[in-house]
């Protein structure tokens, strides 16, 4: 009960802070500074029709690399804890609905995840959500089978390779254009075409593979560890 009240007080304090701050926020009619530069010349500079991806992968590519490192540390810690302290989930026989769904849905969802990653420079999408969608198909397959999957270290290999390729793509820019994670040296192409936007599709692919294998690895650790 004390924890409930403490939680409620925290929520109310946060809500009061938000209520205090939000009226001060003003929606600016015109963009200024960095935002204006991104919005006005982002498409020409990066060749990406989706400005969100242009900012995440091209302009703020170094931040995204740091984010990938953070995710790597988090998933490594989660898998380590799950391996050291097995949680002993009872693997139950899947019901008829779950086992039917897990046979029908994974293929279209997997296709959607791949589409999401491959088209991140054209339409809303990107490596992180696409990888999460791909991981959810593995989750679905895992839920539908009563046996425990055995990855034999393939998932960590994919994860390491994808993370390494992100870094190597960055260093490629150092050699070709004298700038880490330079986006434009491959040519930016026509915005709106699938082969466009320089390095962005390749980096999205690397991020997608890394996120998908990380999440799948955590799920496998959840299912594998039984006491």
């Amino acid at each position: 009960m004390i924890r409930t009240i403490a939680g409620l007080i925290t929520v109310l304090l946060l809500g009061a802070a938000a209520a205090y701050v939000i009226p001060e926020m003003q929606m600016k009619e015109d963009l200024q500074g960095v935002g204006y530069t991104y919005a006005s010349s982002g498409m020409e500079e990066t060749g990406s029709a989706n400005l969100v991806t242009a900012v995440i992968v091209a302009y703020r590519g170094l931040d995204t690399l740091g984010e990938v490192v953070v995710l790597f540390c988090a998933s490594t810690a989660a898998v380590l804890i799950l391996t050291l302290f097995p949680i002993g989930l009872k693997a139950s026989e899947p019901s008829a609905i779950v086992s039917f769904t897990s046979r029908v849905l994974p293929a279209p969802v997997l296709l959607f995840g791949v589409y999401f990653i491959a088209h991140s420079q054209i339409s809303p999408g990107g490596g992180f959500p696409g990888g999460a969608i791909i991981a959810s198909t593995f989750l679905l397959v895992m839920l539908g089978s009563s046996s425990v999957p055995d990855s034999h270290g393939k998932l960590p290999a994919v994860e390491a390779l994808a993370g390494l390729s992100f870094g190597l793509l960055g260093f490629w820019g150092v050699f070709k254009a004298g700038q880490f994670l330079n986006n434009a040296f491959l040519g930016t192409g026509t915005p709106g075409e699938i082969v466009s936007a320089g390095l962005i599709p390749l980096i999205s692919l690397a991020i997608g593979a890394k996120v998908a294998s990380e999440f799948s690895g955590v799920f496998t650790a959840f299912r594998n560890t039984r006491s």
């Binding site: 409930t4 939680g7 409620l8 929520v11 989706n50 969100v52 991806t53 949680i87 002993g88 989930l89 009872k90 999401f116 809303p124 999408g125 990107g126 992180f128 959500p129 999460a132 969608i133 991981a135 959810s136 989750l139 999440f215 955590v218 799920f219 959840f222």
Partner: protein, 83 residues
């Protein structure tokens, strides 16, 4: 979508999210609490979509509503089910 309709949808959705968040604090059944948390995530992703942030909406739907809910459910399996 007209501004009035937009405001109505956002207010009702946001109101449901606030009510659901308060319910999660007080509900005894852990399974219900997890499902309601997933509902809050899904509502948040609809909100992001209404604000034209499709990238964020799909990220929230896939990670917040699906994967996090699943991990919570497994954690519930670990601590015994009906805590």
């Amino acid at each position: 979508m007209t501004p009035v309709l937009m405001t109505a949808v956002v207010l009702s959705l946001g109101g449901m999210m606030v009510v659901a968040a308060i319910v999660v604090l007080f509900i005894r059944d852990l399974f219900s609490a997890i499902i309601i948390t997933g509902f809050i995530s899904l509502s948040a992703s609809v909100m992001f979509l209404l604000m034209d942030a499709a990238d964020v909406a799909i990220t929230e739907a896939s990670i917040g509503a699906v994967l996090a809910t699943m991990i919570f459910l497994w954690g519930r399996g670990k601590i015994g089910g009906d805590g």
